[in-house]
Amino acid sequence: MKVLVPVKRVIDYNVKVRVKSDGSGVDLANVKMSMNPFDEIAVEEAIRLKEAGTADEVIAVSIGVKQAQETLRTALAMGADRAILVVAADDVHQDIEPLAVAKILAKVVEEEGAGLVLAGKQAIDNDMNATGQMLSALLGWSQATFASDLKIEGEHAVVTREVDGGLQTIKVKMPAIVTVDLRLNEPRYASLPNIMKAKKKPLDEKTAADYGIDVSPRLEVVKTSEPETRQAGEIVPDVDTLVAKLKEKGII
């Protein structure tokens, strides 16, 4: 079985995000970028499936700007076998919307004959949480989202999902799209031997046009703004003062 893992290049989670002065989005010029952390978990899970003999090949795919090949190299260094870069934008500020990404991924899945797609539940830049679900609809495949545990049992995938208030375990028919949550696994460190090996692994470069997909935006960003700065707190000496303060503010 081939496992396809879509990976997105996003602003690094350690970077303090700044909004562009015209409010059109987040400033990404000369900012440290890295693999979406949820995608890292998906890559790790795919590699574990391969190590367990369940998967034969792990293919990482990224759709975006040319620089995303660095993100793919990270996936290769972790242990993916090969990578496909679909160049769909020139400007790092142009985000490819979930529907366009899902349409391209659907084509790649068909072309590769993949039997499982492991994706991050969402990307930490736009938090859309949509690509996996759209891909499942486009392919007519089963979907299992927010996975915190995954087992492949013959023709089925048994997935434990993190849902509000607890865990839900479902069994879905393969082929399937599984979107992964934070607690599924802890991604490995990219070791030096694997980083060096990754340089020699194949990385195919394609364009959105190769798949005949129109990636022009359907959504319009109206405004992007910084979150309100938090007000400084106050330390109270005892419970009575706390209760008095809360009453004063009309909270209780």
């Binding site: 260094a77 070791s191 030096l192 031997p193 694997n194 980083i195």
Partner: protein, 383 residues
């Protein structure tokens, strides 16, 4: 911390992987390693799996084929949390990888380097003796030819990692000679009859990495274990130092960075006279000065690495000395100032900066004292 502007994402990926490992695995045990003066068994396998023990062994000999720059990045990131553990990154470089690469025969490389490439072994260099230090001309350990073997007699002291090393590169006198002449280099395997490992000395810092005395009593080493030509041992070792001193600078740099990280975190937290102490100019400027030293040391170190990795040899020795001297002085100054930023809390043995200050001192002493580095730099400028 800002990443160096000129580093590829591949190097950044590598740095980040080592950083994550160091934070998770070594930060929690650094104090214990120092306290118990012992290296936990789990450390070597962690470094091995990351490819760090065997980092510079080339792919031709089954290693990962890392560069000196990578070695320095790894040492820096590990030393940020544990200076002792950073000594196991490239643990066979000075004694084996560098001399074999430069002076070994193809047969020797094929015999020894794949053993290093497993990442399971360390090696030590046996240079210093009770009567020698910066001046190696007084080396009294001798090697006498006997058929297809050499017979070694003598004593070495302060041999770092000498207790656990699988191989010891022993520099012994094979003929009379002035200054560094008449010395040769031999790879002696652990547990060879005639080798006695003495007790470990107690040190101010670098605890967890043992330094021991070694005694050689009619120890027989096969002639094929001589690395490089007879009589060239000192010259060859000096050559290898050009590639090893930058890695000492890297450990010193990591130590300084770790101390700055701790001092900055504390200064942003600790309040006096109604404000965070970082708001006081006296502390803010102190931290700024520490940062300036570190950034300069890092830039100098990477410059030397770029030079060495490019294959250039011209001017490398004095540049390596510049980086080593500057980074080790930086480590001493920055760790001392970090203790000052912490005030009374910094003087307590449970505080990491206290350990870092003790660790820093050795960087000005081993692998050629700061004074020797200046001597090398000064001599390179004599017309």
């Amino acid at each position: 911390m800002l990443e160096s502007f000129d580093q590829s994402e591949e190097l950044q990926m590598f740095r980040e992987a080592v950083r994550k490992m160091s934070e998770k695995e070594f930060a929690p045990i650094a104090a214990q390693i120092d306290d118990e003066d012992a290296m936990p068994d789990k450390v070597m396998p962690l470094l091995r799996d990351m490819g760090l023990v065997q980092l510079q062994v080339s792919e031709a000999y089954e290693g990962p084929g890392g560069t000196l720059l990578m070695n320095c990045i790894a040492k820096e990131e590990v030393a940020r949390h544990s200076f002792a553990v950073s000594h196991l990154v490239g643990a066979c470089d000075f004694a084996m990888v560098l001399p074999l690469r430069a002076f070994g025969t193809e047969e020797q490389r094929r015999h020894f380097l794949p053993q290093v490439a497993t990442g399971n072994i360390t090696a030590a260099i046996g240079l210093t003796e009770p009567g020698t230090g910066s001046d190696v001309s007084g080396i009294k350990t001798t090697a006498r030819r006997d058929g297809d073997h050499w017979v070694i007699n003598g004593q070495k002291t302060f041999i770092t990692k000498g207790d656990t090393a699988k191989f010891i590169n022993v520099i012994a006198r094979t003929s009379e000679g002035t200054r560094g002449g008449g010395l040769s280099s031999f790879l002696v395997e652990q547990r060879t009859p005639g080798l006695t490992i003495g007790g470990a000395v107690r040190k101010m810092g670098l605890r967890g990495i043992k330094s021991v005395d070694l005694f050689f009593d009619d120890l027989r080493v096969p002639a094929e274990n001589m690395i490089g030509a007879e009589g060239q041992g000192f010259k060859n070792t000096m050559h290898c130092l050009n590639y090893n001193r930058p890695t000492v600078a890297a450990s010193a740099l990591g130590l300084a960075q770790g101390a700055l990280d701790a001092a900055v975190a504390y200064a942003n937290e600790r309040e006096q006279f109604g404000q965070k102490v970082i708001q006081f100019q006296a502390i803010g400027h102190k931290l700024a000065e520490m940062r300036i030293q570190i950034e300069a040391a890092r830039a100098l170190l990477y410059r030397v690495c770029a030079l060495a990795d490019s294959g250039a040899t011209n001017g490398l020795a004095e540049m390596a000395s510049c980086a080593k001297a500057f980074a080790s002085n930086t480590a001493m100054q920055v760790t001392t100032e970090a203790v000052q930023v912490f005030g009374g809390a910094g003087y307590l043995c449970d505080n990491p900066v206290e350990r870092m200050m003790r660790d820093a001192k050795v960087t000005q002493i081993y692998e050629g004292t700061t004074e020797i580095q200046k001597l090398i730099i000064a001599r390179s400028m004599v017309a």
